[in-house]
């Protein structure tokens, strides 16, 4: 595309990557060296902890994907950023403190501590690995996209580079979840996205706050030249005269042509020059929304145009309830000294994420004004990377573009590392050994390579949508286990296993069909693309019904377990009986 990334972006990315590896290698220096016990045994404050959780949580989906979706679909997909943040509300209300009091480090630990079942523990491990991999995919995908946008390298190069860097780093013991490093990542990401956003606002203001919700679809506001990197079919709403250099509609073209309304095929490498004021053609399958439809709820259905209401509710359910099932988030709660601190931490996370998610939304909206050509190919995930350069221009635009690129890379690296540490942690303790350092290395290698291979295959899907699927699986498996495990005495190991398996099998089927199958229309399409609205209730129902049927198997010490989970530590009620 004619709007290209900043020349400083690549050096910035390299600096971030080298810094990340360096911090990993020297990571232990960050633990406090002192001769003062008061300092050494001070536990991490909720503020630091919350920054660290946010730093690990804000991923490619948050950094690039949300803006891309907002640019494409408008108000309906606002539920993505809202849900990504509000998931912590559900976590705060139902899970945070009791989970901490249970003493569990990972989700399988919780399953074992609460229900004492080895089978349930094994299946929990399986789903931790599945969710971890599903969530790793979009990180690698985002990296591929970023490098392609900035350097023109093939899509798989970025995925492989980030995948290998993270795998090698984690396998060698770097990037252990060092709180201060992760906390710093949050502030880096916030700076990288917020500073350019303020300059963008100034540009928008100087243009008299151009209308985003008018009756018109996006247009080019000056003569714009666009290079198409991958072959694409676009739809023109009305006839248009433009200049084409390359191969389009089955013929070599070099010079002005008049295109009729309708479909036009454009080959890779073709350069199109649109005149001032021309309407932006959209990639086939993406409706050309007028500003009004874009800004209105249920206008686009967020990519599910047939049943927008169902898709929206499903998305809300997946993101609200899925956060509590994300393995790399939950292990961080262990660092809190007690349940009360866990709650405070979650509350601060809500605030930090709330602030962050304002910005990707802004990028998505302004993208329709300043980088409408992204709609030609539909790869709007690049909008955050390209917008500063396109809107500001000059040295400032390039420097800010580099800042955003560095932030995006920090997002892939930190989230991918956190996920990989979690996945290889459970693999090394439960599947591939007994948790020794050597086991961990082998597990990290395996855990890193699998998603790498898959990520190289899928550049068709939106980054945020793949993340949404990971959330749906988490919401259909671990959410019922955690919520009922904490709040219902009647849960049995058999019931939990049946519910987790039912929810997991259904949601995984939906995910596999969506990722590897083709495009589907109508009800089957929306039911599989946004499965949470039916898989979560099914999982809950199975859990309850099977537990009722096996009520004889309620763990005998249930009263004591519940006391441990719910009584504040300061009361000392959870203590072992005097010996």
């Amino acid at each position: 595309m004619a709007v290209s990334g900043s020349p400083y972006a690549l050096p910035a990315i390299i600096v971030v990557t080298v810094l990340t590896i360096g911090i990993g290698a020297y990571g232990l220096r960050f633990s406090r060296t002192t001769s003062d016990f008061l300092v050494a045994s001070r536990s991490i404050s909720p503020g630091w902890n919350a920054s660290a959780i946010s730093g690990e949580y804000l991923s490619a989906a948050s950094f690039l994907g949300v803006a891309g979706l907002v640019m494409k679909y408008g108000a309906d997909v606002l539920w993505y950023p809202v849900g990504f943040a509000a998931g912590y509300l559900a976590l705060l209300l139902f899970v945070a403190a009791p989970l901490r009091r249970s003493g569990a480090f990972t989700l399988p630990d919780f399953a074992e501590a609460r229900l004492g079942s080895r089978a349930l523990r094994r299946w929990s491990v399986f789903f931790v690995v599945v969710i971890g991999w599903l969530y790793l995919l979009p990180q690698l995908q985002g990296a591929g996209l970023t490098l392609r946008t900035l350097t023109g390298a093939p899509y798989w190069v970025g995925a492989v580079v980030v995948g290998v860097v993270v795998t090698v780093n984690v396998a060698n013991g770097g990037m252990r979840s060092i709180t201060f490093v992760q906390a710093f990542q949050y502030w880096l990401k916030l700076t990288a996205i917020a500073v350019p956003a303020f300059f963008l606002l100034i540009v928008w203001q100087s243009g008299g706050f151009a209308d985003l919700s008018g009756g018109q679809a996006p247009t080019f506001d000056e003569q714009t030249s666009v290079r198409v990197d991958t072959g694409v079919t676009v739809v023109l709403g009305e006839p248009l005269t433009l200049s084409v250099d390359g191969f389009a509609d089955g013929a070599d073209v070099d010079g002005p042509v008049r295109w009729t309304a309708g479909d036009h095929q454009i080959a890779a490498g073709t350069v199109l020059v649109f005149p001032d004021g021309a309407a932006v053609p959209h990639v086939s399958g993406l409706p050309a929304l007028s500003g009004q439809t874009w800004a209105a709820p249920l206008g686009s259905g967020g990519g599910s145009p047939d049943h927008p209401l169902f898709a929206t509710y499903s998305l809300i359910l997946a993101t609200f309830l899925g956060t509590m099932g994300l393995p790399h988030v939950l292990v961080r709660f262990y660092t809190n000294p007690d349940g009360r601190a866990a709650r405070r931490t979650t509350l601060i996370v809500l605030a930090l994420l709330g602030v962050f998610y304002l910005f990707p939304t802004l990028y998505g909206a302004l993208g329709r004004l300043y980088t409408p050509q992204l709609l030609i190919t539909g790869q709007t995930d690049a909008v955050v990377l390209l917008l500063p350069g396109a809107a500001l221009g000059g040295l400032l635009g390039q420097v800010l573009g580099a800042l955003v690129a560095a932030g995006a890379f920090a997002a892939f690296l930190s989230t991918a590392s956190g996920l990989l540490v979690s996945v290889s942690g459970v693999l090394s303790t439960d599947v591939m050994g007994r948790g020794s350092v050597r086991d961990f290395r082998r597990a990290a290698t395996v855990a890193g390579l699998v998603p790498l291979v898959i990520a190289a295959q899928i550049d068709r899907l939106d980054v945020s949508q793949v993340v949404g699927l990971a959330f749906a699986v988490a919401a259909s498996t671990f959410c019922p286990l955690l919520v009922l495990g904490i709040w219902w005495r009647g849960l049995t190991a058999v019931g939990a296993l049946a519910g987790v398996l039912a929810g997991g099998a259904l949601s995984l089927t939906a995910v596999l069909v969506t990722v590897f199958g083709g495009e589907l229309d109508g009800w089957p399409g929306v039911l599989l693309a946004q499965p949470a609205a039916w898989t979560v209730p099914v999982a809950f129902a199975v859990l309850v019904v099977v537990s009722k049927a096996t009520a004889a198997r309620i763990p005998p010490n249930i009263g004591r377990t519940m006391l441990l989970l719910h009584a504040p530590e300061s009361l000392g009620l959870g203590r072992a009986t005097p010996s």
Partner: protein
């Protein structure tokens, strides 16, 4: 729509394959019927064993009786304690009282008994049970209960012998349960012993050091005395087998404060603690003996300044703790003698041996102490603690 069907189909096929493989592995692969039978018997026994290892209760009897009946192949089986029927598997549960009456005789005599049809009479005309074998379950020479196998006809000699053998096997499992319990009791007793033996040396030395400040620096003496009080309160506390690393470090701080009063600037301490591992649950008084050991054996005999380094690192699902001193060190062979044999005057290193035993009994044999030492080269003791282990919780 088609792809959806294909996807669903794929998942169904995969599930069916998985099920098939599991079935195949459980039924095939035996080269002879004998092999198959041996497998079935051992498998049933291994399924019945874990609940019995928790002792003879209603819950454990209920869980294992299914597999015991598989072993004997009778239409019904009952397990009784000395007082009542604990579990009944199979038909004819209305015989509970009859069976308990029959078992009472066996419980008294400790000899097996066979009941014929006349003794099994009941009101239900269609009740097919016509006989029973009652075998005593003995635990360390005492009759703890009875195993009652009920049959369609008069019990044959084969069934009698099989029932007796099964009852003896159950008795063995219960004895192992006793053994497990006494091992746990021993571990608790060891903590108590450790609490009680928070060395008389130390108490004597501490009080001596505090005493020397009473005239010259009364404020410091008062402060030290309060620290000492706090130290003893923690060390002698009566609840909880586990505590957090943070609390354990707090106690070490008090300990070192008092030792410093004695050694002055000769004792230097460096700490490198990853804050992520502070909430880890560790067995009560795990680190204290290691630090005490470093002070007593590493520094006390050494001229000049000695340094103790305490480190706790975050290592994935584990926490790695090391206590290192640059003192006089020791010959590894001598250390082994002192800790392993633990007899005679092994008291000097009883701390290390005790910590090692407790770590292994709580977390398993992978989690012992690792000691690196040589004469003149200082000593480094390291241990790993899993962040989560079933049943381990600070408090």
């Amino acid at each position: 729509m088609e792809t959806a069907l294909v996807g669903v189909g794929l998942v169904v096929v995969a599930a069916a394959l998985l099920w098939g493989v599991v079935r195949y592995r459980s039924t095939r692969g035996f080269s002879s019927t004998e092999q198959r039978l041996t497998f079935d018997v051992l498998h049933a026994a291994s399924q019945a064993a874990p609940p019995l290892r928790l002792g003879l209760t209603e819950a454990s009897a209920g869980k294992s009786i299914r597999y015991l009946r598989q072993l004997l192949g009778t239409p019904a089986l009952a397990i009784t304690s000395a007082e009542e029927v604990l579990a009944w598997e199979g038909i004819g549960a209305h015989h509970r009282d009859t069976v308990m009456a029959l078992a009472a005789g066996v419980l008294d005599s400790a000899r097996p008994d066979v009941a014929k049809a006349a003794e099994m009479a009941c009101e239900q005309p269609d009740c097919p049970l016509r006989g029973a074998v009652i075998a005593p379950v003995t635990l360390e020479g005492q009759v703890a209960g009875a195993l009652v196998a009920l049959t369609w006809q008069e019990p044959g000699a084969g069934l009698v012998r099989a029932t007796l053998e099964t009852a003896r096997w159950v008795g063995t499992q219960l004895e192992l349960a006793e053994l497990d319990q006494s091992r746990a009791r021993l571990a608790r007793a060891e903590i108590r012993a450790l609490r009680a033996q928070i060395s008389p040396h130390f108490i004597y030395n501490a009080l001596g050091a505090i005493g020397s400040f009473v005239r010259t620096d009364p404020d410091r003496a008062r402060e030290l005395l309060l620290e000492f009080a706090e130290f003893t309160r923690y060390s002698f506390r009566q609840y909880g087998e586990f505590t957090t690393l943070a609390e354990e470090l707090g106690n070490i701080e008090r300990y070192l404060l008092i030792e410093r009063a004695r050694f002055g600037d000769r004792l230097q301490v460096t700490l490198r603690i990853a804050p992520e591992v502070l909430p880890v649950a560790v067995p009560f008084l795990t680190l204290q003996p290691l630090v005490e050991n470093a002070v007593r054996h590493g520094l006390a005999d050494k001229p000049g300044v000695g340094t103790i380094a305490i480190r706790a690192e975050d290592a994935g699902a584990q926490c790695l703790i090391t206590v290192e001193d640059d003192g006089v060190g020791m010959d590894p062979a001598r250390l082994r003698e002192l800790t392993v044999e633990d007899g005679g005057d092994g008291r000097e290193h009883v701390g290390l041996g005790n910590v090692d035993d407790r770590l292994r009994s709580v977390f398993g044999n992978d989690y012992g102490l690792v000691v690196e030492t040589a004469p003149g080269a200082g000593t480094k003791v390291s241990l790993r603690i899993p962040k989560f282990h079933a049943g381990v919780r600070a408090g």
